[in-house]
C-alpha cells in the first residue's frame, strides 16, 4: 500500500500528489514513469514521474481528471492509500549538453517536462520552454519552470494567457531567430505530431515521450506498441522517448482510441456512483 502524503489542486481538474514509495523515489530518473492501480478492482495506469524526494521517500505525480481511474484517484485524500505503485519504468532521458534546447509541454504533458528541463539545465544547456494549454486555468508549473529556463513562452487556444494560438506558432518564431540544437516535446499526440512535422522540415532533431495505452508496463503484453522507423517498438521497455520524425503518429492516435467506448462506460458509471455529474466547463 502506498500513502498519499500531499494533495493539491493546481489547475482546473489537475492534481499534484506526493506518494510515499521509497524504492521508486531512490531509483527514478528524469523521463521515467510509474504504473498505479488504486484497488484490487482497478486498472493499471501509467503516469510520468514529475520529481522525487529520495530523502523523504516521496514520488511526485501530476494528473488530470480524464478517465475513471484519474477521477477516482482525485477523489482520494491526503492520508489515503493506493494499492499498487510500480516503478520507475521506461528508459531515463539521455542527458547531454546540446547547446540550445527547446522543451515543449502541452496540456498535462507539461508535468513530464519539469524533470527533463532540470537535468538539461544542470549540465549547462540553454533552455527555452514553450508551454501550451487550452486555457489559462489549465496551465501548470509556471513558477517552477521559470526557475530552470532561460526563456519561457505560453500559448493558449483562447488567448487567456500568452499568445492566442499553438505551441508550434511560438516554436516557428523561436527557430527563425535562434539556432536550435534539439527539441523535446511532451503532450497530446496532435501537438507532438505538429511539432514533429515542423522540425522535420527544419532538420532539427526532436525527441518525444509517448503515452500509449499500457497494461503491465514491463514488456509482457505489447498493448503499448508503436511503429518507429517502420519497426514495432514497445513504449514500456524500448521507450518512452523516441525520435519524433520516425514515429507513426496516425497509428498511435488510433491505438489511443481503441477502448474509447469502454472508457466512457466506466467513467459514466463512476460518476453516477459518486452521485455527482461533473459538468465540463467550457
Amino acid at each position: 500500500m502506498y500513502e498519499i502524503v500531499k494533495k493539491h489542486e493546481i489547475g482546473y481538474s489537475i492534481y499534484d500528489y506526493e506518494i510515499y514509495a521509497p524504492d521508486v523515489a531512490i531509483s527514478a530518473k528524469a523521463g521515467q514513469f510509474i504504473i498505479f492501480r488504486i484497488n484490487s478492482m482497478g486498472e493499471r495506469i501509467p503516469i510520468t514521474i514529475v520529481e522525487t524526494k529520495p530523502e523523504k521517500g516521496l514520488v511526485r505525480i501530476i494528473f488530470q481528471k480524464i478517465g475513471k481511474s484519474t477521477f477516482q484517484l482525485a477523489s482520494l485524500n491526503k492520508g489515503d492509500y493506493i494499492r499498487d505503485f510500480l516503478g520507475p519504468l521506461g528508459n531515463p532521458t539521455k542527458i547531454k549538453k546540446y547547446g540550445n534546447v527547446v522543451v515543449i509541454g502541452g496540456g498535462i504533458g507539461v508535468a513530464g517536462i519539469l524533470s527533463i528541463v532540470k537535468e538539461f539545465k544542470k549540465i549547462g544547456n540553454t533552455i527555452i520552454i514553450v508551454v501550451g494549454a487550452r486555457s489559462k486555468n489549465l496551465l501548470i508549473l509556471e513558477s517552477e519552470l521559470r526557475q530552470y529556463s532561460d526563456s519561457i513562452f505560453f500559448a493558449t487556444n483562447d488567448g487567456s494567457y500568452g499568445i492566442k494560438g499553438f505551441v508550434t506558432d511560438i516554436l516557428k518564431d523561436i527557430v527563425s531567430k535562434n539556432k536550435i540544437d534539439i527539441v523535446y516535446a511532451i503532450g497530446p499526440v496532435i501537438m507532438m505530431k505538429a511539432v514533429s512535422e515542423f522540425t522535420k522540415k527544419k532538420c532539427i532533431k526532436t525527441i518525444v515521450s509517448l503515452n500509449p495505452i499500457m497494461l503491465d508496463g514491463t514488456g509482457i503484453c505489447g498493448a503499448c506498441r508503436v511503429t518507429v522507423a517502420g519497426e514495432t517498438k514497445f513504449v514500456c521497455v524500448d521507450g518512452p522517448e523516441f525520435d519524433a520524425h520516425s514515429v507513426n503518429w496516425n497509428e498511435l492516435y488510433f491505438r489511443l482510441e481503441s477502448f474509447k467506448y469502454s472508457e466512457k462506460i466506466s467513467l459514466d458509471r463512476f460518476k453516477q456512483h459518486m452521485g455527482c455529474v461533473d459538468v465540463k466547463k467550457k
Partner: protein, 443 residues
C-alpha cells in the same frame, strides 16, 4: 460471465483412478520415468496409491516435484511420461496409464503442508528470487525447506507469473495456485510486489541488502510479432495482452473491474501452441461464437496438447490449418477488418523424410475478422540487461548459465524460460537443480 464451463479441469473420481493405477505394469526398467523431464518415480507412487497409502505416494512425487497439482494439469503428459508408457507400445495408441490424472488426484487429495518444515531452524541466510512464476516458486520452496530466508520479488501486483496471468482458469483453477502459494507463505516465503528488479533495484543493491545469492526466474517476456504490414492495427492483440486482461485484470467482469476487453464478432487466433488453444477457448467463454484458429502447418505439427485441441474443436473453434498470414487489412479508423492469408502445402523432402511447408502460389485469400489474437511465442525481455552489465546473454537475449545454473556473476543463478526453457515442467525441473546448486554455493 463465463459461459461454457463444461470442459473445465475437474478432479477425477477415486474409482476412475483405481482403474488407471491397476493398469500399471510396474515395469522393472520404467520408460515413463525416462520420459519425465524431472524423473518422478511414477511406478512407485502408483504402487503406494494402490496400497491406499496416499502419504507415501505424495512423498515420492514431492521428492522431485514441488507442485504436482499444477504439473498434473499443465504438463503435456502425452509427449512425456505417458508417451513412453509400455502400454502404448503393447496396444495401439492412447492406452497408457493416465499418469497426469493420477498425479493430480493424489496431490489434491493430500494436505501438502509439511509441518516439520515450519519449525525448521531458520538459517540466517537471505536469498532473493526474481520472478514468481513456476521456476521462481519451485526454487523458493526448495530453499525454504533448507531453512533459508527467501524473498520473492515480483514486478506485477500479484504472484504466480504465467500461472497467474497466462494459463486460464478453466485449465488451471486459481484456487490450486492459491493453495500452493499459501503453503509457501506458511513455510516463510517473503513477497515483495510491484518491484521490477533492474529498474526499481539492481542486483548489486540486492547484494548490498544482504542477500547471499540471487535466482533469476523472470520468464520469457516479450510476445513475438509477425513483422508484417498492419500488425499494430486496433484489436490485434498478443495472446499475452489478451490473457493478462482476462486472467490478471479480470476484464471479463468489466465494468465491475476497470480493465476493459474488446469483444469481436469474428475472432481469429493465430498459432498452434497451448497459448493459441488457451486464447481461443478463453474468447469462446467470453460469449463470442465465431472463433477461427489459423495455423501455418498441419494439425500434426501443433505443439499444443492433444487434449486442448480436442476440447477446442468440441467447444466450437474452427481450425484452419496450412494457412499462413500475409498481412492485416484495416478500416479508416485504424481497426482491423480482415487478414490476407496464403495456403501452404506439405512437401516431403526426399533426403530426410522431413516435412516442409511451401506457399501455394496464387492461393491468397481474405478472411474477415474484427479481432485477432497472436500466439506466436515469446522472446527474452530486453530489460534483462538492466539487472547488471555483467550478466552475459546469448545473441537472442537468453541468460547464459553454466552446468550449475550459475550466470556470469558469482552467486547469481538463473532458470526457466529466461535461459531457454519452454514448459512449466522444464522451468520447475531447472529451478530444482538450481536450488541444489545455490545450497552448494552457500555451504
Amino acid at each position: 460471465m463465463l459461459k461454457k464451463n463444461n470442459k473445465n479441469t475437474k478432479k477425477p473420481t477415486l474409482h476412475e483412478m483405481l482403474i488407471e493405477a491397476k493398469k500399471c505394469l510396474q515395469c522393472k526398467n520404467p520408460p515413463c520415468i525416462k520420459g519425465c523431464p524431472i524423473e518422478v518415480n511414477i511406478p512407485m507412487f502408483i504402487k503406494y496409491f494402490l496400497e491406499s497409502n496416499l502419504q507415501k505416494a505424495i512423498k515420492i512425487i514431492k521428492q522431485k516435484n514441488n507442485f504436482p497439482t499444477i504439473s498434473g494439469i499443465v504438463c503435456p503428459q502425452e509427449k512425456q511420461c505417458e508417451k513412453f508408457c509400455i502400454l502404448n507400445k503393447k496396444n495401439n495408441n492412447n492406452m497408457s496409464v493416465s499418469i497426469g490424472n493420477l498425479e493430480y488426484y493424489i496431490a489434491s487429495s493430500t494436505t501438502i503442508i509439511e509441518p516439520h518444515l515450519i519449525k525448521n531452524n531458520k538459517k540466517n541466510i537471505k536469498i532473493a528470487i526474481i520472478g514468481s512464476g513456476p521456476a521462481g516458486l519451485t526454487c523458493t520452496y526448495d530453499l525454504l525447506k533448507v531453512g533459508y530466508d527467501v524473498t520473492v520479488y515480483e514486478s506485477l501486483h500479484s504472484i504466480g507469473g504465467v500461472l497467474r496471468y497466462g494459463i486460464p482458469e478453466f485449465r488451471l483453477p486459481k484456487k490450486i495456485l492459491e493453495r500452493e502459494i499459501n503453503n509457501l507463505k506458511k513455510l516463510g516465503m517473503n513477497i515483495v510486489l510491484n518491484t521490477f528488479i533492474g529498474r526499481t533495484k539492481s542486483l548489486q543493491e540486492l547484494f548490498d541488502d544482504g542477500y547471499k545469492s540471487i535466482f533469476i526466474a523472470t520468464g520469457a517476456g516479450l510476445p513475438v510479432l509477425p513483422k508484417i504490414s498492419g500488425e499494430n492495427l486496433n484489436h490485434i492483440y498478443s495472446s499475452n495482452e489478451f490473457l493478462v486482461r482476462i486472467n490478471l485484470m479480470h476484464s471479463y467482469k468489466f465494468p465491475n473491474y476497470d480493465t476493459p476487453i474488446y469483444k469481436g464478432k469474428n475472432v481469429v487466433v493465430i498459432g498452434g501452441g497451448n497459448t493459441a488453444i488457451d486464447s481461443s477457448r478463453t474468447i469462446l467463454r467470453s460469449g463470442v461464437n465465431n472463433v477461427k484458429l489459423i495455423y501455418r502447418k498441419s494439425e500434426n505439427e501443433m505443439s499444443a496438447r492433444k487434449e486442448g485441441i480436442f476440447h477446442a474443436k468440441h467447444e466450437g473453434v474452427e481450425f484452419i490449418t496450412l494457412t499462413e498470414l500475409v498481412k492485416f487489412i484495416g478500416d479508416e479508423n485504424g481497426n482491423v477488418k480482415a487478414i490476407e492469408c496464403v495456403k501452404n502445402k506439405i512437401i516431403m523432402s526426399i533426403n530426410s523424410n522431413e516435412k516442409q511447408f511451401k506457399k501455394i502460389v496464387g492461393s491468397n485469400h481474405i478472411i474477415k475478422t474484427d479481432m485477432v489474437i497472436l500466439a506466436l511465442g515469446l522472446h527474452p525481455n530486453p530489460t534483462i540487461s538492466l539487472l547488471s552489465k555483467k550478466i552475459n546473454t546469448d545473441s537472442l537475449g537468453y541468460v547464459i548459465i553454466d552446468d550449475n545454473f550459475m550466470t556470469s556473476i558469482s552467486g547469481v543463478f538463473a532458470g526457466g524460460d529466461i535461459v531457454g526453457g519452454s514448459t512449466v515442467i522444464e522451468a520447475m525441473g531447472m529451478a530444482k537443480k538450481a536450488a541444489k546448486a545455490i545450497v552448494k554455493f552457500i555451504c
